[in-house]
Amino acid sequence: MKKIDNFIKHTFKGLPKEKREETIKSVTETLVEKVEDLVDSGLTEIEAIDKTVLEFGNAEDYFELIEKKQKKERRLKSLRHYRNDLLFSSVSATIIIGALIFINLVYADVVIWFVVPALAVLFWPLAVLYNLLNKRANRRNADE
């Protein structure tokens, strides 16, 4: 039975402390029941324990049902993140374009070439804005 204890402890070691003890206790209890049943049906104790451990599956199976939803929610970037992205890209784009204008005027003020790279750089915040608006629309649809 020691083997069962170790197996369960190992399986659930990643759990937060409050939940761990309770889970370990109840799962161990049920697995011991299973081993006893298998022994009654004619297996040796070692065989019974091996079979029980093999058929248990893993901790992911245990939590799949409980935590799948929570994990998904956590992974979703919130709208605030997208807003921060937009802020960052606009500020950076402004700095880059400012630098371009400065270089253009100081070193070669005959040809106004900074417009071309500036246009290219502008697409960065534009893309981020596009993304943000899309996400917002999606979220609104999902809420309805």
Partner: protein, 107 residues
């Protein structure tokens, strides 16, 4: 063996049904399931216990310590009134779903 994703949403009802028939303990539920499906579907213990503990939390079932033969202790699960109601609701849902799929797939 059947894809467990499809059956997953109905496992709660299956377990409730088995407990309604009579009070059962954990391993008995698992062995009952594989016996009745002739091992076409085998529930992983991990999945089973997570569902059982969730049903317990939702107060659809209750547990008590009972004695098996040879005086070995077993944690038995017993259905509550709430659990029964939930089961019949789920069963109704399943009958409707079956009806719909039958019409759509068999036609």
């Amino acid at each position: 063996m059947i894809n467990s994703d499809i059956i997953r949403g109905h496992l709660e009802s299956v377990i409730l049904k088995l407990i309604i028939e009579q009070d059962r303990y954990g391993y008995e539920i698992a062995s009952c399931i594989s016996e009745r499906t002739e091992a076409k579907f085998i529930i992983k213990e991990a999945t089973l216990y997570s569902i059982v503990s969730r049903l317990d939390k939702k107060e659809l079932i209750e547990s008590y310590i009972g004695e098996k033969t040879h005086g070995k202790k077993r944690r038995y699960y017993k259905i509550t009134t709430l659990g029964k109601a939930y089961y019949y609701e789920k069963k109704q849902e399943w009958l409707e779903l079956r009806e719909i799929l039958n019409t759509l797939l068999e036609a």
